[in-house]
Symmetry: C2
Subunit: 299 residues, 2 copies
């Protein structure tokens, strides 16, 4: 039985943990209200079904005295969260560090600091949110894309993919996970910031406005150009595909908008800042992305 | 004694009317709460002094049965306000139509529709706002720049300038009023939208943020480029001048931010939309201005 430690007990971490709880030796770090979760478990509400599971709960990483096979990190990517320091609290470094997180260029620091661990980078395509302590509602999707950083797929990564797959998660293997990160960023770097900067708009409102739809497309174009300069092969057809796919979805509030409305910090650096830093390092002009970033930096 | 009719009884209209009330035959259009103003007059609070004046008040333009020398229009420039229709309600067209309004390219329609009138275009540099019905507080400045549209200065325009000057208004004559409109737009098109789009920031907060300050400068640069393509001769030194002058002011909320916070319509078209329409007509790229406009168009 694989030993799994989940750091980041938000909606993403809890949803994916719920799927593999039965088949693994699962421990979750839960800093606040952990007694409530020990007593009542973690509940996932999805369609009309409810699942409750009771992983081992720790409220301090020092309590974890084993070497885990996979440390799954599902925190937000925020300047206030120093993952290097968090992982260093562990008595034994994990065999694999798994990042299920948003953004671009988020792996490098961890890769450099923990050469002993193999690093798996993962993207979650899911709509799930917290209802109250230990209770999460899952609305749509639930896919994962996983691959080793910087490239390839080792056996541990393939085993993790199999683990998710056998537990009804559509888990896709990626030999080029950074390319997939850029691909996901096309949507994230456009819809997320604009949903906030237009005073709080869902996807339908953004796409119903002609000027706004054009702006979304222009930001997508900049992201695609950056990804090409980063050595990946994304095609501009992805702009229309992202727009068309979003039009098929029911009106949807982005995660950044939900964070904004709840007065939580937003993942601006991971989603926009890192792309912009790359653009600057290569002297690539990105007026649309720069504007969005400057405006968000005042919030 | 000059016959003056003021249309637009907001802070701008009332402030400038207050200065010339004694020396003119002054009538003001006041659609709402006009009985209150008839009874109590219009009060301007400035520093520690207060002025109350009692102009003739009408609540319908059809009540005005004379030909005025100057119809001073001091409404906001909003798509919902059709000035052509408003002026057509008058029994006699005014000798001069005076626009004390924000924005760029706002004169052409009036110029075409009323060739019998001479058109005076004016810019107000002033910080004044409404306190309650008929009461306005004046914080700073109070300058006017006036000139005939499209260019030049006729005798009526010079007489109006003299009228303001003799009543302690620093009124400047402009032979090229459209150039002055572009010049004022450098500040208006940058600070106004960004103060709203950053969630409500005063001038100090905007300039304290490095990214935001750069964005202000980039928008100013686009406005200067547009003005040059429109045949005017604005220099890029004006960017620094606008920034430096604003740093000298005490922290200040833009008029667009005040409108936004009060849930009033914002002058987006006059201040940003018209500049952008001009850019499109000349195929001049304006990514920063376009982004700002697209975001504001969702509000």
């Amino acid at each position: 039985m694989k030993k799994i430690l989940v750091i980041g007990s938000g909606a993403i971490g809890c949803f994916f943990a719920s799927k593999i709880a039965k088949e693994t030796d699962l421990t979750m770090l839960w800093r606040n209200d952990y007694q409530h979760v020990i007593d009542h478990g973690i509940k996932i509400i999805s369609d009309k079904s409810e699942t409750v599971f009771f992983p081992k709960i720790i409220n301090n990483l020092k309590q974890y005295q084993e070497q885990c096979d996979y440390a799954i990190i599902a925190t937000k990517v925020l300047p206030s969260i120093n993952l290097i320091e968090i992982i260093k609290e562990l008595k034994y470094l994990p065999k694999n560090i798994v990042l299920i997180q948003n953004g671009i260029h988020i792996e490098k620091e961890i890769y450099k600091n923990f050469p002993q661990c193999s690093l798996i980078s993962a993207l979650a395509f899911i709509a799930v949110s917290k209802v109250s302590c230990g209770i999460f509602e899952h609305f749509a999707y639930g896919r994962l894309t996983l691959g080793n950083f910087p490239t390839g797929l080792n056996q541990d990564c393939l085993d993790l993919i199999t683990l998710f797959k056998t537990n009804n998660i559509e888990a896709k293997a990626s030999e080029k996970i950074e390319e997939d990160r850029w691909k996901k960023l096309i949507w994230n770097a456009s819809f997320n910031p604009i949903s906030v900067l237009t005073g709080g708009s869902d996807t339908k409102k953004l796409l119903d406005n002609k000027n706004c739809k054009e702006l979304l497309q222009k930001i997508m174009k900049e992201i695609i150009e950056l990804s090409c300069q980063d050595g990946y092969n994304l095609n501009s057809d992805l702009i229309n595909k992202n727009i068309e796919d979003t039009l098929q979805m029911r009106p949807y509030k982005t995660s950044m908008l939900l964070d904004f409305e709840a007065h939580r910090p937003m993942e601006v650096e991971a989603i926009v800042g890192n792309a912009l830093n790359f653009a600057k390092s290569k002297s690539i002009p990105t007026p649309y992305l720069s504007t969005i970033y400057a405006l968000l930096s005042c919030y």
